[in-house]
Amino acid sequence: MSNPVLTSAEVTAPAGRRNLLRPDIRREVALGIGIVVLAVAVPIVAGNAYWLQAILLAAVYVVAASGLNILRAQAEQLSFGQGAVMGVAAYITALAATAWEHPLPVAVLLGFLAGMAAGMLLALPSLRVQGYYLGFVTMAGALALPEIFFLFEEQTRAVTGVNVATSAIRDVAFWRTEWLTLVILLCAVAALVVAGLIKSSRFGRQLKVAGTSPEAAMTLGLRPGRLRLQAFAIASLMASVAGVLYVLLIQYVAPGSFTLALSIMLYFVVVIGGAGTIVGPILGVGVLYLVPDVALASLVDYRLLIYGITAFVIMFLMPDGIAGGLRRAIHRLRGRTAPAATISLREVLAQAPEAGDGATAAARTGGPLLRAEGLAARFGEVQALDGVDLEIGRGEIHAIVGPNGSGKTTLLNALSGLVAVDSGTVHFDGEDVSSTGASGRARLGLARTFQTPRVFADMTVWENVDCGADDGRTHWFAEALEAVRADWDELPAATLPHGQRRFLEVARALRRGPVLIALDEPAAGLSVAERKEFSALLRSVVAATGASVLMVEHDLELVWGTADRISVVDAGRVVVSGPPAEIRHLPEIGRLFAGVNHVAG
């Protein structure tokens, strides 16, 4: 497929190479590693075996919780199955090492693989359901696990549990320090680093987008289902590692070690510690495991009471967890208030190559960019689309207007693939995309923005722009954006006012080098000045990129002043379509545009 908007095939050097970890995340990872190393070192130096064992188990929990943290905070998947995955890995390792008489390395590998398999099994429902549905399903899975062990009592020795003999891994490596201690420490450090890497990466942001707004993810060319499975795979990997380490450390497993309570504790650890932070799991394990189970071991009868009340109180005082609450407090002490951010696309668009590069000229040749025929969609009793025919030319600004409920947004969704139509065909850039999904159409160059801008508040402006699919296409706009990257990476997106969020969404769409940008009510909520600016922006986008624009808009003045072609939709059909000058005297237009003064004149 020839794509006139692409100006060069060569791939720009990955600018992220120089900082795989964002500076603030690097500090957090370093802090986390420091805490873990210190926590392990102190009991070794003090020669306190009881505390060393407790700290090492805490470190194992940190590994599992860090994985769950990625799943919960980065990919927005609610899972209560992390403890069950850990349990499967641990149990299979123990059985393989004893009943099945495999050497320990083989047993560890088998346990790890079994854990991964269990994790992916728990991940499957996420393809279909989200939110608390997913939470309850995974919770039912975690509840069922010990019962399954008992169902197969003969194979699992569920009643007695399984003892695993100590092995060479418990030999002393150097001065009082066992090999196992080093291995656990290494895994905990690795878990923190991986968490930091994912949080810093575009992949991490893609997980976030897919979890928070699957529609937005699809219009950016992402495949939310696949991303969810990848997130589950990472979380399961960490849980499986934790399960194997658990066996090596405790040397005994029984179904009672991996009840739902463990999965719930890991979930609590993530949220109470501070979901989405690197040190959160460490703080959570400290507060919810070390304090009630070890430090207050003399109050063992009150363990659950202390645990439950601690969780409750922290949710009350710090709704975003200990790490989130501490960060908030530090910011307040420093008196740091984020400035109201502004972003401008003008300077970026000014870097457009001369029109003589052929992009625009090429764009004007050939057939229509998009041709829809006979689109029909029915929701229950409502015939939202009733045989829509529509053509969008290359380099054209095409506006869809019509009364509320006439099917405008449904039409936009049907064209971008977010809504499945009952009948009709869509050809895009010469290809039949009727059976292509939203992310497939996005990969062909169809971009889309939403009525409510999908801006992810806990990322910076730059991160919001750079979170689409990496499909290797480069484009002058993406290169031009590098100039503002540093500035935009300083701005938290949460501080952007509404109008600016529109521009951000447009920048995100343009970064992917689209040939068609579909905008759903782009002027809604914009001030008069911002509307003028937006209108000018659309013009310069078309001029600079050669892309077409399709917009659904209620602001008829904006439509009249900007669009090359207007289609009027009513009751699921296109009733009139044509350039403003040709259709202005038609009665349908008069009725619709009655309030707009300059139309008549």
Binding site: L143, F150, L151
Partner: protein, 294 residues
Amino acid sequence: MDELLIILVRGLGAGAIYSLIAISLNVIYNATGVLNFAQGQLLVVAGVFTYLWLPEGAAAGGPSWLLTLLVVTVVVALIAALQGWLTLLPMRSPSDQHSWIITTIAASIVLGAIMVLTIGPRVLTLENLFGQFPLGGSRVPFVYLVVIALALVVYLFLRCFQRRYLVGLALNALSQDLEAAKAGGIRTMPLQVLAFAIAGAIMGLTGFIGGHAIGIVESQALHYVIFGFIVAVVGGLGNNTGALLAGPAFGLLLMFVSYQAGGAAEVPLALAVIVVVLMLRPEGIFGRPHARRV
């Protein structure tokens, strides 16, 4: 054949209890969007209160029985109201990230811990006050039929309450659109706490009347709430009619399978049910599919 009859009665009775849990989950869910994980523990609490407070020799329907019924129902409703209020408070913070998941599970843990501290981790067995009736050469406790009747009564009461009374209508409004109800001048917080109280009262009644049919032990609480959730989902979350019908079907299935394969198969089977239903029909068997909003 006789065994099958007994399985039928027991399965339907146990299912009616799952229906009642599901209905109480629905009441809270419709008013607040919260799925109360502590609901199973409230059922256990009701059973414990019945065990502690019901005078020995009290006959079903007698004055001391009725008085204890009233006291248990009211006290569990008050506990639920308090728990609901505590759950709803942090949800008003702008930085709230589904804190209710933590706070309702934590409430369940705290209630369980208090029970273990006061009465120990033992399984309480409540007396069967309703007698037995002969069935196919065996005798079956009446309580299984009584809980089925209770489920019907609660269902009809809620239906009537939500259509005839202003407070019920306001609760109904919350379930249609929480934001719009707020904008319409309804003070949501007291209504939402009321929803928790109603759900608590349902658990109080269920624990008091049906306590003989279930094991009253803290460690079963999460089982009860998960089974209740499964019934609610199969019936369509928020849909009481669906919950009323799905409960007995689910109870029957569980009873039959645990008769065939042993009690350990119960939870894995329940898991299979929820996975299959969610994969095939996420909106539930009786739920209506929603058009996705983009």
